[in-house]
């Protein structure tokens, strides 16, 4: 297969914490344009894999390739600049700033004035139109001047997605985008992810299997730090080993 087909590849990725392998020999391939879900019971190593991919953890062994380029040793800020943007499991916004400012911070890097301490921040209002367009895309226009910390949980997650989109990611990495949400919020976020995944690749860690079955074309099941199965949802969800791995934790 041509390597251009895959946006993200890992080879033998492992992470050891003092003798315990949280992730062992994971070789993952994320195809361009897919919504790829990483699932597994609690403690399967999903979040560790995610943090390895986003460079918030350093792998003990293995390689990570982004568009065929090795990024195993690249820093977390630098992979974001290459177009690989992540979200966080606990909603990560800038709580004391307004929604507009939150999105503008995500946009302002490209102005090249982020070190200019002598310049007025009025110069950032050039970004307002684009920031508003992003807020509109996630349905938050009316809250633009609210303080981000005051938003209800589901809307914070939506804001976070707007901020990630502001970086114009080729590859969007979502860490449990529906964790802790009410049913209506889940519907809204699922819909949103579906919309924003056009023209981009999404890799997400997700617990909620109905979200996964609605959104993703490929899923990878992790168990005890290793890949248990990989393939389209319909196939994987029927595999006996996957069912037994999930039954043990009460998920279904």
């Amino acid at each position: 297969m041509a390597s251009g087909e895959f946006v993200l590849e890992t080879e033998g990725l492992s992470k050891e914490f003092k003798g315990f392998f949280a992730v062992r020999d994971v070789s993952l391939r994320v195809r361009k344009g897919d919504i790829h879900a990483l699932i597994g019971p609690n403690g399967a190593g999903k979040t560790t894999v995610f943090n390895l991919l986003t460079k918030f953890l350093t792998p003990t062994a293995g390689r990570i390739l982004y568009k065929g380029e090795e990024i195993t040793k690249t820093g977390p800020a630098d992979i974001a600049r290459k177009g690989m943007v992540r979200s966080f499991q606990i909603s990560a916004v800038f709580p004391h700033l307004s929604l507009l400012e939150n999105v503008r911070i995500a946009l302002q890097r490209e102005l090249g004035t982020s070190f200019h301490f002598w310049k007025s921040d009025d110069s950032l209002s050039a970004l307002n139109d684009r920031a508003m367009a992003l807020l509109e895309a996630v349905g938050l226009t009316e809250f633009r001047n609210h303080t981000a910390g005051d938003l209800p949980y589901g809307r914070k997650r939506a804001l976070e997605i707007a901020m990630a989109l502001a970086c114009e990611p080729r590859l969007l990495l979502l860490d449990e985008p529906t964790a802790g949400m009410t049913h209506e919020d889940i519907v809204r976020i699922t819909d949103l992810i579906g919309r924003v995944s056009e023209n981009r690749t999404v890799l997400m860690v997700e617990h909620n299997l109905s979200v996964v079955s609605n959104l993703s074309n490929v899923i990878t099941v992790l168990q005890r730090g290793e890949i248990l199965a990989e393939g389209p949802y319909e196939e994987v969800s029927k595999m006996p080993e996957v069912i037994s791995a999930y039954l043990g934790t009460g998920h279904g």
Partner: protein, 315 residues
Amino acid sequence: MIRIISLVALIIIALVAPFFFYPVFLMKALCFALFACAFNLLLGYVGLLSFGHAAFLGSAAYVTGHSMKVLGLPPELSILAGTGAAALLGLGFGWLAIRRQGIYFAMITLALSQMVFFFALQAPFTGGEDGIQAIPRGYLLGFIDLNNQLTLYYFVLAMFVFGWLVIYRTIHSPFGQVLKAIRENEPRAISLGYRTDQYKLMAFVLSAALSGMAGATKTLVFQLASLTDVHWHMSGEVVLMTLLGGMGTVFGPVVGAFLVVTIQNYLAQLGSWVTIIQGGIFVVCVLLFRRGIVGEAMALARKLRKKPEKEDAVS
């Protein structure tokens, strides 16, 4: 409108103050206010608690003193030299300290500033226990006599206003916006592609340089650079001023500095009781009004207006 009126009032008060209060007291308060504002840039807007800021105040004081007294340079160049020295020191200290967070960051800055203290104690040109005394004030730009107390006051006021404006602009700049993002959620700022260490270092150097400017100006006022300036007590005092006035507000450190200097000056006859009073105030501040005087006042004003407005305290 209210803003403009209060600003004009502040300017008038600052201009006529030396006719009503002892000018040296005012100058001391202004120097410490600038020091606290510079410190607050780091604590209030980046979320970094440095416990070694005396090193920048003190090293600038020594460099300026040496430059005036031994090298005989004019005051403007001496202040520039002191500020530059503090900035360079800040670059080195910052480079080492920003690799760690929280208490470790504070401890590294404390350790480094203790090294500066011992250097000042031992080095041949710092005067050891005596410090550098009887530093001439000289003539600013060759013709403005700084020995005139009123002239000196306006010079110190100008230095303070300049420093304060630099800080104000920094906070309200594209750079300041990134700093606030780092303060609020550093991993998030990183994941948006910001190499946060570089921003933190830049803020650290700015804060060190402005602290140095405060120290250099103070040297001219007291004609003295001494171990007090580099002692860790000084690092603690600036924390107290900032927290008391309100960290993360642009006027808080000014209020805090004036309050602490007032307490020290007017209660000086109580001797070491001043330290106990200061400690008591600090405890009350932390227990009852954590946002500091200005922070609490602003929160109250917001409550009274009850408008869903942008929070000034952090912007």
